[in-house]
Symmetry: C2
């Protein structure tokens, strides 16, 4: 039935019209009489015709494909549910707009170098969503220099860059303020990797919250992880000698590692040490004890990045677009709220 060698040419013949008309119908363009349109649609339905996306891209200069690129596909990518969640959001956004999603996980610098030709032609990809960029990532410069439409997932200083970000400063601020109000005096921080802007923002929220509450800041209470469970574990072990009575951890996955270190050390959570994470991914709710955390709308942010990119693609304006999404404190057992009720 579906001979699949169909082209608009055959459809045109079968419908008794010209190729242009078929093209108009396919693309929902005006200037086709209702009868003609119905006739063509009927033939298309009967034959099961689908226009060739490649030919279409070649002549229309748009591919209907969006790239999601993750530079230096970090270790945590494959252990932290954060990225899958983000991909889900991006994927849903693409599906909703009938765009295809291409995924570029760059494991090495070589692969990163090879990426560029692929996207530079503005043909294979209409635009790019870039996430998990690190400080000084050359990709942003390249995209900017070559006028390739892109949206960053995470904020950026350059005024030309459009982005979707989560309000990391406020989120971290809320977490730490919560701990201080609960009476914790020695609040440590397991931060994300230096070089990550999101990590820096969360650290800033931590510092500002302490300052506002007149809690002295002790640099020794700050350690850095890379969003893996292991780095959270090791970070917490380092912190142990500083005897914190609370710790704000920049991701749930690292917080799970911190809980493990505390358990091993025989520290009761939250009685001796309160813990607050960041993300509110599923495993935060099932840890022992369940994790108080800052919820961020990961999936939504991915979908919004797609919306934004498509808006940029379809309505070419100059102004960069920016969205900042709010976070939310989710209270569970690990912060010990009930201890002070």
């Amino acid at each position: 039935m579906t001979t699949d060698k169909l082209t608009i040419r055959q459809i045109a013949e079968l419908a008794g019209v010209s190729r242009s008309t078929v093209s108009r119908v396919i693309n929902d363009q005006p200037n086709v009489s209702p009868e003609t349109r119905d006739q063509v649609l009927k033939v298309i339905a009967e034959t099961g015709f689908h226009p060739d996306p490649v030919a279409r891209s070649l002549s229309s200069r748009r591919a209907g494909i969006i790239g999601l690129v993750i530079p230096l596909a970090i270790q945590s990518l494959f252990e932290d549910p954060f990225f899958p969640r983000l991909m889900q959001g991006v994927s849903q956004g693409c599906n909703a707009h009938d765009y295809t999603l291409s995924l570029f996980l760059l494991h090495t610098l070589e692969e990163e170098a090879k990426l560029y030709p692929r996207i530079s032609r503005r043909q294979l990809l209409d635009g790019v969503i870039l996430t998990a960029t690190y400080d000084g990532d050359p990709l942003i410069r390249q995209l900017l220099a070559n006028c390739i439409p892109f949206v960053l997932h995470g904020r950026h200083e350059d005024p030309r860059v459009s982005y979707v970000e989560v309000d990391n400063v406020t989120g971290a601020h809320a977490a730490v303020t919560h701990l201080v109000r609960l009476g914790r005096k020695r609040v440590a921080l397991i931060a994300g990797p230096p070089g990550s802007l999101a990590a820096a923002d969360r650290k800033r929220g931590y510092l500002e919250a302490l300052q506002e509450r007149r809690v002295p800041i002790d640099e020794g209470q700050i350690v850095y992880g890379d969003y893996t469970e292991l780095s959270g574990y090791e970070g917490m072990r380092q912190l142990l000698s500083r005897r914190p009575d609370a710790v704000f951890v920049s991701s749930d996955t690292m917080a799970l590692g911190a809980l493990r270190a505390l358990r091993e050390a025989g520290k009761r959570v939250p009685d001796e040490v309160a813990v607050v994470g960041f993300d509110d991914l599923p495993h935060a709710a099932t840890s022992d004890p369940p994790l108080t955390t800052i919820r961020q709308p990961i999936q939504q942010s991915g979908a919004l990045a797609v919306d934004m990119l498509i808006d940029i693609l379809e309505n070419e304006t100059e102004a960069a677009r920016r969205i900042i999404l709010p976070t939310e404190l989710v209270i569970r057992a690990s912060c010990g709220s009930w201890l002070v009720d």
Copy 2:
């Protein structure tokens, strides 16, 4: 510098040759004299020319793109590190062969229906890797019917289907045999969802191991989950009344849920109940207690699926290809090996 309106035409002019010659050079074809080749390569390097992939696809009828499709993007996708790991493998495979990866996460049946036109044209996608298919998934039939090259991740009965699979039966068999040898008499099973062939295979391994060891099989000791932590938790709670002294869980993530249920119920692991998982993902090593599990080469299986698909694309043969990968028992604390030393 990079004017980016370059076509082979300009390159041809600059190099003083014809377009065909440029094309030959680009595609590493023979019948170009070394001098000409060098000259062309020089111009290409100087201008920073990259051939347009879309135009190339249109005339060569191959896109250099592979699709990874995950039908009914199951809940567990976004909480179990299994899929990210698989994607990493697939992505590396694609990068190694200079193919681009497109990701199709199908969240609804509607989206699944829309996918088909996208791939049927044999243009946008050269081939497909299909994973997490469920029983009676229409996708396989469609791909087969339309002669779209694809590789299944997971085995399949149809002799025309090429696949890469992990030896689930043997893996599960090893897990259960290990438990029985350790003296466990009442070995329960938390299986994967009915409808999944991999889940059925693991169940078969479980049943066969018990039979071989002359352990009576109790259907009441078998429950089903969906690879989420929660389903493992609930499965274990159901099993509690059956008083198992061991449980084989079909995924690490579900095993974590089982551990949580046991902890809540005050059952000591492994003393009272031994637990063995499946996967050996990072979180298996950091649970409390660390999880004995069956390691499967997820990442490798993804990369191999790509290799296989590309082999099929580039050397069109009739015969279906099949790879079965071995698993490995990884002993940690949760099975209580040391209790019987």
